[in-house]
């Protein structure tokens, strides 16, 4: 005879929340490469390429991942001549004629909507403190200026927030996931006070007062000009870019050069244009004689980068150039900053880490299931228990995806820990139900509930300090644990007790 198991509303609630969580996670298996941001001044932006699109093909070749993408781009652009590049994305086809490599950042297509933390996908994290005591609103201003600096540099995927720790100290926490510049230090901690001085008098400073525009992404007025080997066996590359001064700054330039004499060669003025960043001299440029006394609005900034190979030198020069361009445009940060903590995390082991975590999670669930089976010898109850545990994990992940919580190492530790302790309450329920005594099933469940709710409040209260302690770096653990036990107490465990009731009543 077939008994139809009546599904109570609590079980429906659990199923409903599960489905919503899966939707929030929205797993997908698309091939290709995701465009994370497009430089608005580039040819590509002009042709219609936008952030969020997924590249499927370039010039007819299928692109399945970032490795293939890099290879195809390198092959196309290995000579510095103009190239026709046909990009096919999931939103459209774009044809661009250009000689500069794509000025957009790419990443692999995410498999889920869960925001992966730095520990899994690599990135950089900095805790920065202003060297003066500043108020909360000044702190917020600092965050805005810093964010602007990152955006101008080309990084839009930056998470900056103010962090108060338990001693009342204020920090700026900067987190950049995925690809990030080798030298995050320069962008974050450098106040970025740029000054151009002639004969020790400041002619122009970084920022919109003196600088009306800076040439970027246009090979004609900015780029790497030459590379050579140097004595120590490495390489040095020179870069150059044009800077457009405002009229006021140009006139200051005229005034400063007007009184200078010529140098020994007769082609340049006796004093050089000294470029200072944060009070240290980075470059001295000779001033050509025909600029003497002229209010010129266009000047050329030069510099260099070095490395052990030519490739490294080119990369270093490009980064230096970009940094200089950025601080010329944005001006200096309002306060001197001190780096209290700086982590650069490689993405290399990230994928393997995810594999290991999945194995650990499945292994734990299986181990727990075996213990439960041995203890209770009831397959149905054990399966119901495993189902409940598993659904709690999905719910945690779903909520994390929904609120865009960064799934970092502490968060994952919290989820793994929940597997072991999540079943505790089910065990209490199961044992209460088994006691062959006089009280009704309802009363037994009430007693179980008392224990469960008490344990819930003690756990909750113990987790709370984690939101502030240690600059909140471990709040992920508190978050996932709290979501886990709350979802447990409100949704999955009441559903489990209904399932048990149905199973027991069928047997009775």
């Amino acid at each position: 005879m077939l008994h139809r198991m009546k599904i109570s509303w609590r079980v429906w609630l659990l199923i409903g929340v599960l489905i919503l969580s899966l939707l929030a996670i929205s797993p997908s298996f698309q091939q290709g490469v995701l465009i994370k941001s497009v430089d608005k001044t580039s040819d590509y932006f002009a042709s219609g390429v936008r952030a969020g699109e997924i590249i499927k093909q370039i010039n007819g070749e299928n692109i399945a991942n970032v490795g293939q993408y890099s290879q195809v781009i390198d092959n196309l652009f290995n000579e510095s001549k103009e190239v026709k590049i046909e990009i096919k994305t999931n939103k459209g086809d774009y044809i661009v004629l250009t000689n500069s490599t794509p000025e957009f950042s790419v990443d692999k297509v995410p498999m889920t909507r869960i925001q992966m933390g730095l520990d899994l996908i690599g990135g950089a994290r900095a805790l920065v403190q202003p060297e003066a005591n500043i108020t909360d609103s000044e702190m917020n201003d600092l965050v805005e200026v810093a964010r602007n600096r990152f955006n101008v540099y080309g990084l839009s995927d930056v998470n900056i927030r103010v962090v108060n720790d338990l001693t009342g100290e204020k920090y700026m926490l900067v987190e950049i996931a995925g690809a990030s510049p080798e030298d995050l230090k320069g962008l974050v901690a450098q106040q970025g006070k740029f000054e151009g001085k002639i004969a020790n008098k400041t002619v122009f400073e970084g920022g919109e007062k003196d600088i009306s525009d800076v040439c970027r992404n246009d090979a004609q007025c900015s780029g790497i000009r030459s590379c050579q080997a140097d004595q120590s066996g490495g390489y040095v590359c020179q870069f150059q870019f044009a800077v457009y001064l405002t009229q006021a700054a140009a006139e200051k330039h005229a005034a400063a050069t007007g009184n200078l004499s010529l140098d020994s060669s007769g082609q340049y003025l006796s004093d050089k244009l000294d470029l200072y960043v944060d009070d240290s001299l980075v470059e001295s440029l000779a001033i050509s004689v025909d600029l003497k006394g002229r209010a010129t609005t266009q000047i050329s900034i030069q510099g260099s980068g070095s490395g052990k190979t030519q490739e490294e030198a080119v990369k270093a020069a490009k980064e230096d150039m970009k940094k200089l361009q950025t601080i010329l445009i944005t001006g200096s940060l309002p306060y001197k900053l001190k780096i209290a903590k700086l982590d650069t995390i490689s993405p290399i082991l990230g994928d393997e880490f995810i594999n290991l975590i999945l194995i650990a999670a499945i292994g734990s669930i299986v181990a727990v299931g075996l213990i439960v089976l041995v203890r209770y010898r009831k397959l149905k109850a054990s399966l119901a228990l495993l189902f409940t545990s598993f659904s709690e994990i999905i719910i945690i992940l779903g909520i994390a995806a929904l609120v865009k919580w960064n799934l970092d190492l502490p968060s994952i530790a919290g989820i793994l820990a929940t597997i072991g302790t999540g079943v505790d309450q089910q065990i209490v329920i199961l044992d209460e139900a088994r006691k062959g005594i006089q009280s009704s099933l309802k009363e037994k469940m009430k007693r179980a509930l008392f224990i469960i709710v008490s344990a819930y409040f003690t756990s909750m209260v113990a987790m709370l300090p984690l939101f502030w302690a240690g600059a909140g770096l471990f709040r992920g653990f508190a978050f996932t644990t709290l979501i886990g036990i709350t979802a447990g107490v409100l949704i999955s465990r009441p559903a489990f007790s209904d399932m048990i009731r149905a199973i027991e009543e069928k047997i009775a």
Binding site: G122, L166, T167, G168, S180, E182, K308, K341, L342, D343, T344, I345, S346, P347, I348, L349, F353, L356, I359, A360, S364, I365, A367, V368, L370, I371, V372, R375, L409, P410, A413, L416, A417, I419, G420, T421, D424, I427, V428, D431, K435, I437, R447, F450, I451, S454, T458, S459, V461, A462, L464, P465, L466, W468, A469, G470, A471, F474, F477, T481
Partner: protein, 395 residues
């Protein structure tokens, strides 16, 4: 109230009834040994734990070089960095070395340069991870984590007392004291200060309401006591919120717990013992704790109390059978709970063992804590409860 008729009184007491007090003494001895060890440790080391570079300040560099000879590298670099620690990263799936991690208190630039010179290539994001924590920040972290643990323990004790005690007036007084303590320990966080003041006000109002319905003489005495505690709390809060007062508050709380609810005291003592014994073991094997390690102790507070609450609930609130029956039933449930937690944490620990030092430390500490929890719940706590129930004739 009907008392369950036990057959116990007519039979000889079994061995457990005769010897549970001895078991309590044994576990108390363990606790004492651990405390003495920690005291000794503190005198020689200056603190209760060995700290790694995330708590003292320093640099950690992970390099994903499968072929590096770790011993040779360590020996060479130790000439310049005598405190250098180096260990391999291994992957249980591939079974091989994925790279190595080194730690030193030195500055990141010096360390990175020396390492690059040895390896012969530059360290970039494609082959390494670099973490650096300044000394001031890390020491600040350590202070805060200690404060967080004290606050969590205070709050946990408060919840336990609320659950298992009966006198409402005393619950109000305890609430005021606990939140005063929390406010002192976490005095720099304004949200917590506001919450604490709010809690103190709510408890005085609750206490006054609850005391309304007794006879006049008792009522006035109760009002006086409540208002006294209230005024003293506020005075201390605003005028003299010093950490030293925390000892006084703890002494007062422990006194209240012992006098009004031994079951609560037993739970809290058992949780305390879990932490102390785990700490002693961790120090004994020479583990250097990172930020994650200290936080693992915070997690332990939550986990260790679950089984104690189960035990106390079953013994005090259930009516069937005699104490030993209930105790044995609770033991079956509780040990299953602890075993599943040990299994889950153990499996996770084994899988990520060589791969993630942070997770390894967290899971190791939780595992040790869970093992001690078995003794502290089912011997320390259980024996104290049984003694209490015998004395109060609750059997």
């Amino acid at each position: 109230m009907e008392q369950a008729q036990t057959t116990e009184h007519h039979h000889n007491k079994n061995w457990y009834d005769k010897s549970y007090r001895w078991l309590l003494i044994i576990s108390a001895a363990f606790l004492l040994i651990s405390l003495v060890y920690l005291y000794n440790f503190n005198s020689t080391q200056g603190d209760v734990i060995y700290k790694d570079v995330s708590l003292t300040g320093g640099t950690t560099i992970s390099v994903f070089d499968k072929n590096a000879d770790i011993t040779k590298l360590g020996d060479t670099l130790r000439i310049e960095f005598p405190d250098l620690l180096i260990r391999g990263i291994s992957n249980i799936r591939t079974g091989g070395q994925e790279g190595f991690i080194l730690e030193t208190k030195a500055e990141v630039n010096d360390t990175q340069t020396a390492l690059e010179n040895y390896l012969g290539y530059s360290l970039t994001k494609d082959n390494s991870s670099i973490e650096f924590t300044g000394a001031t920040l890390s020491q600040g972290f350590y202070q805060q984590l200690i404060s967080a643990i004290i606050a969590a323990f205070l709050l946990m004790s408060w919840v336990v007392f609320l659950i298992f005690s009966h006198d409402k007036k005393i619950k109000a007084i305890t609430t005021m004291l606990v939140f005063l303590g929390v406010a002192i320990v976490l005095s720099q966080v304004s949200t917590i200060k506001m919450l604490s003041v709010f809690a103190i006000f709510v408890s005085i109002i609750y206490g006054l309401i609850v005391c309304r319905n007794t006879n006049k003489e008792k009522r006035n005495k109760d009002y006086l006591i409540l208002l006294g505690v209230f005024i003293v709390s506020l005075l201390v809060f605003y005028l003299y919120p010093q950490m030293m007062l925390l000892w006084l508050i703890w002494a007062a709380l422990i006194g209240i717990f012992i006098y009004y609810s031994i079951p609560s005291f037993a739970v809290i003592l058992s949780a305390f013992a879990d932490i102390v014994m785990t700490l002693a073991v961790v120090d004994f094997v020479g583990m250097s704790l990172s930020i994650a390690g200290v936080i693992a102790f915070l997690m332990l507070i939550g986990y260790s109390v679950d089984t104690d609450i189960l035990l106390t609930s079953r013994l005090l609130k259930d009516k069937e059978g005699n104490v030993n029956h209930r105790l044995f039933g609770a033991f079956k449930t509780g040990i299953t709970m602890t075993l599943t937690a040990i299994a889950a944490v153990g499996v996770s620990l084994a899988i990520i063992y060589g791969f993630s030092p942070t997770l390894k430390q967290i899971f190791t500490i939780i595992l040790i804590g869970l093992l001690f929890d078995i003794m502290n719940t089912w011997i320390t706590n259980a024996s104290m409860l049984k003694w209490y129930m015998g004395v109060k004739k609750l059997e």
